[in-house]
């Protein structure tokens, strides 16, 4: 089923591209700072986190300078939360398209994800600057970044398919998602290191797929060491399960979107 869908999506790649262009163009039209906004969000959060958690709270950061420590987690996190927030509303906001024209519906959440991915790429440029500033030398493990990003994309995709389709039926989802994401952020090792999580509950903690992803990003980029493959494989398994069921769920509901929305 997934393969068949992939083919359909390839046929509609131009629509996907145009929807992404629409979203980006519309967002930055009539704005002075334009694309720079993609950088401000992680940058400001990093500064605030550094002040609050490093200077005030004296949070340990596994020996990594705290700005680097938090920014390396904020980058994947902001992609994650931005994409899900945006895509949850993607179907409902395009009501007039869904009720008037046929096209594979998953294009809409995917377009939101791609848009967030572009923001992610822009925000990464600052990160490279930070790496140079702190004179971090990269190891060969850096190449693991690509498969990790792909795992994260699938995780985001799975959650987006689920939330966006559920939101068509119950708008409560749109209200709940930002709250869930906020809680999720504190359940992920963004402002604190995993080592701070008590051993006793850590087996539960690592079921959160973002744990493996964020931890790996930090290890392979900043510390230049191998990621924790145990954590990472849990992330992969959980991601796969979420994606599989969400996709099924989405496909099952897809044909009733136009009737309910």
């Amino acid at each position: 089923m997934v393969a068949k869908n992939l083919k359909l999506l390839i046929n509609y790649r131009e629509l996907l591209l145009n929807l992404v262009i629409r979203e980006i163009k519309v967002r930055y039209k009539q704005s002075v700072l334009g694309v720079a906004w993609a950088v401000f969000q992680p940058l400001l959060l990093m500064i605030i986190f550094t002040i609050v958690f490093s200077f005030f709270a004296r949070m340990p950061s596994d020996g990594i300078p705290y700005p680097l420590f938090s920014y390396s987690a904020l980058l994947p996190w902001i992609f994650f939360s931005g994409a899900i927030n945006r895509s949850t509303h993607s179907l409902v906001n395009n009501r007039n398209l869904i009720t008037k024209v046929y096209f594979p519906r998953e294009i809409l959440p995917i377009a939101s994800i791609v848009t967030a991915l572009i923001d992610f790429a822009i925000a990464s440029i600052i990160f490279i600057g930070l790496l140079v500033l702190y004179k971090i030398s990269l190891s060969l493990y850096i190449f693991l970044l690509f498969p990790i990003i792909i795992i994260q994309i699938f995780l985001v995709l799975g959650l987006s398919l689920f939330f966006s389709s559920f939101n068509v039926f119950f708008r409560d989802i749109g209200q709940a998602v930002p709250l869930v994401l906020q809680i999720w952020m504190y359940l992920s090792p963004i402002v604190y290191p995993i080592s701070l999580v008590p051993e006793k509950v850590r087996f539960l903690y690592i079921l959160n797929p973002m744990v493996g992803i964020i931890d790996s990003c930090r290890k392979i980029i900043i510390q230049g060491i191998a990621p924790d493959f145990a954590y990472l494989s849990i992330s992969v398994v959980v991601t796969f399960v979420i994606f599989y069921f969400s996709h099924k769920f989405f496909k099952k509901l897809e044909m009733s979107f136009a009737d309910i929305i």
């Binding site: 519309v26 007039n96 869904i98 008037k100």
Partner: protein, 415 residues
């Protein structure tokens, strides 16, 4: 001929008035249903289509007609794949393009050109296909000068033209046309119609939904007449359209007669016209007049109850039922006294301007407030007519020669 579209026993059910919490309980009870015991309870449902079957041959044009809520647009939605049938199967051969709503997905902040790309790709066009057709689209939409303006600055007419221009250039094998043709000015409508018949000549299959039966008769070889989701008639478009018109007229008449009969009866009981006389200049009762002669219409009526300030109206008609003049107390601001029991009135026409021929009159007494008639004379049962005769000197001869209806007072001069 091969079949392009095959509808087989298709039904479509919609929920109406279902709130999110109703839906939620329904799903919950479905999720935790005792085995085999689930029943659909909470929401109201309607059948938008019920057991509809028809076939459309490749290259033919089918018109779908019917009153509001007949299920016409639902058929288009099913054909374009926006929604699935509740029951039955639909077979479609070829790429479809729906014009269900032109301009779907337009974004006000984007320019005309950007929206063409966006809308085109929504309708399934590739970028190079749009590139190739860009000039044609701009030309068709008549928007060359505004193509790089954000469409939030467009007028609604420009917006619609752009949408139609993109949709019509998708070049589908099956074209679905909804009522959208009702937009734009006449010239643009004409252009759209031409484009559609061009499609038809190219051997494409076209489905047209319209209230305009003349368009359907002109464009379609076959027609489908739906009412309340059920097929009433299907076949040759001329016959189907006639059936549809008859159906709509009988619906209209049934509505009217039920209401009107009741009202008419109660009005007639109050006042009746008892006598109408036509008098000439000497006060003689006659129905033959000469051109330029005065005509006085004497009306007698009797009321059973008290009538406040009744109004009178006199209309004059030619023999072929053309109304040519009206005299009305209301428009003349003449206020009649209240009527209780018998009364008599006179409308006097100073000089008859009509050419020789037969004319008829209708005279009515009306309620001054609502304008509804109490009683009218002059229909089949109580005709009033008069003749305007030719002048004896042989001028202004011959009724119905091609002179017109009225005689203007005039003269000629050589300058």
């Amino acid at each position: 001929m091969s079949v392009a579209i095959n509808f087989q026993n298709v039904s479509k059910q919609y929920r109406i008035r279902t709130s999110a919490s109703q839906l939620f309980y329904e799903y919950l009870s479905y999720l935790f249903r005792p085995v085999g015991k689930y029943k659909n309870f909470s929401s109201e449902k309607i059948w938008a289509l019920k057991d509809v079957s028809f076939q459309v041959e490749k290259g033919s044009t089918l018109g779908i007609i019917g009153p509001n809520g007949a299920g016409k647009s639902t058929i288009l939605k099913l054909l374009s794949g926006i929604t699935n049938p509740t029951q039955g199967t639909i077979m479609i051969e070829g790429k479809t393009a729906a014009l269900i709503e032109i301009g779907a997905g337009f974004h006000p902040e984007l320019t005309g050109r950007e929206n063409i790309y966006l809308n085109g790709s929504i309708l399934g066009l590739k970028k190079r296909e749009i590139d190739a057709k860009m000039d044609e689209i701009m030309e068709f939409a008549e928007l060359k000068d505004f193509i790089d303006t954000p469409i939030k600055k467009y007028s609604s007419g420009m917006y619609v033209r752009l949408g139609f221009a993109v949709a019509i250039n998708v070049d589908p094998e099956i074209l679905l046309v909804d009522e959208v043709l009702a937009v734009g000015d006449l010239a643009f409508q004409h252009k759209c119609m031409n484009k559609i018949s061009e499609f038809s000549n190219m051997g494409k299959t076209i489905i047209v939904v319209s209230h305009n039966v003349r368009n359907i008769q002109m464009m379609c070889s076959k027609a489908l007449f739906l009412n309340k989701g059920v097929i009433q008639d299907y076949g040759d478009s001329k016959g189907v359209v006639v059936n549809y018109i008859n159906f709509m007229m009988s619906m209209e008449k049934r509505k009217e007669t039920e209401k009107d009969l009741h009202l008419k009866k109660s009005m007639e009981e109050k006042v009746k016209i008892t006598q109408i006389k036509l008098l000439d200049s000497k006060g003689v009762d006659t129905n033959i007049f000469s051109i330029g002669e005065p005509l006085r219409i004497r009306i007698k009526a009797q009321s059973k109850s008290y009538i406040s300030h009744p109004d009178f109206g006199v209309t004059i008609w030619t023999e072929d039922e053309k109304k040519i003049a009206t005299c009305n107390t209301k428009f003349d601001a003449f206020i009649c006294r209240d009527l209780k029991g018998k009364g008599e009135w006179e409308c006097s026409i100073h000089s008859l301007p009509f050419l020789p021929g037969n004319y008829s009159l209708r005279v009515g007494i009306y309620d001054s407030f609502s304008g509804l008639p109490y009683d009218v004379w002059g229909w089949e049962k109580r005709p009033i007519s008069f003749i305007v005769k030719s002048l004896t000197d042989g001028t202004k001869i011959a009724p119905y020669s091609d002179l017109g209806i009225v005689e203007l007072s005039h003269n000629w001069e050589q300058l």
